[in-house]
Symmetry: D2
Subunit: 122 residues, 4 copies
């Protein structure tokens, strides 16, 4: 995990430990807490059109930022608890994706990932 996320996780972990919550924060429970926050994020987008989803602003943008923040906090906490370097893992995943979806396969049109992977089905 890079410094900015380490610092964030250290701050949140101190917050948790200061309140005696650490024993409830198993990776299993943290994964559930992450899921619940994602549900709140989804709620902000569920009735929006594609176009509207680009133009959230004002109070709604603040609320969305808060949900994204909650997800990041739990994500770094799970990674911290399991000793996983989150940013390194993300770069490894980017690398795998870059090979899995060769750029030249997508030059001729607008295939989406699932249309490429499942191309025999379409």
């Amino acid at each position: 995990m890079k410094d900015s996320l380490k610092q964030l996780d250290a701050r949140h972990l101190k917050f948790v430990e200061d309140r005696n919550w650490q024993k409830h924060q198993s990776p299993k429970n943290l994964v559930m807490a992450l899921t619940a926050e994602v549900g709140e994020l989804v709620e902000h987008f569920q009735w929006l059109s594609r176009e509207e989803s680009w133009t959230v602003d004002g109070k709604k943008k603040e609320a969305v930022a808060e949900e994204l923040a909650d997800v990041l906090i739990y994500l770094t906490r799970i990674s911290g608890e399991l000793d996983i370097d989150l940013v390194a893992a993300a770069h490894e995943k980017c690398e795998r994706n870059e090979h899995k979806y060769p750029v030249e396969e997508f030059q001729d049109g607008y295939k989406r990932p699932h249309e490429y992977k499942d191309k025999d089905k379409y």
Copy 2:
């Protein structure tokens, strides 16, 4: 967003643009993609006990790291698309939490967040 996440997001955005996927990546769709990755993360933990969830290792740990990475990638992409500084938003959320749950309220026992907030119900 701090540098390490900006760099990650720039890499993933280039990957997306190189494959002509950008038009499918509305914040709405990205929120759905994030949700699907969270579902895969949950799958690794659903039948584990609390204790087992701390000891994922080997291939399972690699798989969990990959799901966490996927969540981070979509999380930074949503933030990038909406021009939200994710790490700053997380620190603001930490600040709000530190006030919402005053540390002295939790010294006498093991109240969990919901037992404090909903304390009149318990």
Copy 3:
């Protein structure tokens, strides 16, 4: 729960008990399993446009039906385990919704639920 769901739940519970899985199937774990299935459902819809989402067919429709089925199975299992009458609860919720969103408030246009509830914010 009405007969058809009771019968479904009894069949699935027998399947679980015959395999000695019952001890893993706490409501907590079942909620996680439900979440993971919802993630798979979301995956089928994440890159589709609004219009495309109405026209899933063939193999994709079969796959969607299977995910919906998985969600129903876990939903009835959670309800069974907690002794909750799912269909009765759904009708009670319909009743509350019918009062919460009075029909005359929506005659003049196309307000969505969140625009009505949060109307002071818009």
Copy 4:
């Protein structure tokens, strides 16, 4: 879909149509709404121990019943919109599961589904 679910879906669909919401209720959006409700369900269980999750009662049980109801309502609405017979699909899934996890493989112990499927990895 069996009669009790058909009746539930017809009631909810009328509620939606009476408020001019139908155009927002694409299967894609309904899947998101389902996800958000599942997030609320998860929130009730995230900090509970396995044992506590069996003993939710009083106001918490009512709240859980309401979330389960919301999930069922969206589940039947998605099925209705896509013309999928939800209960029939669930029985087909049970049938597939009964073959996929042969009962005799689970007599000797307490293997969980993922330990059976991934047994070469353990």
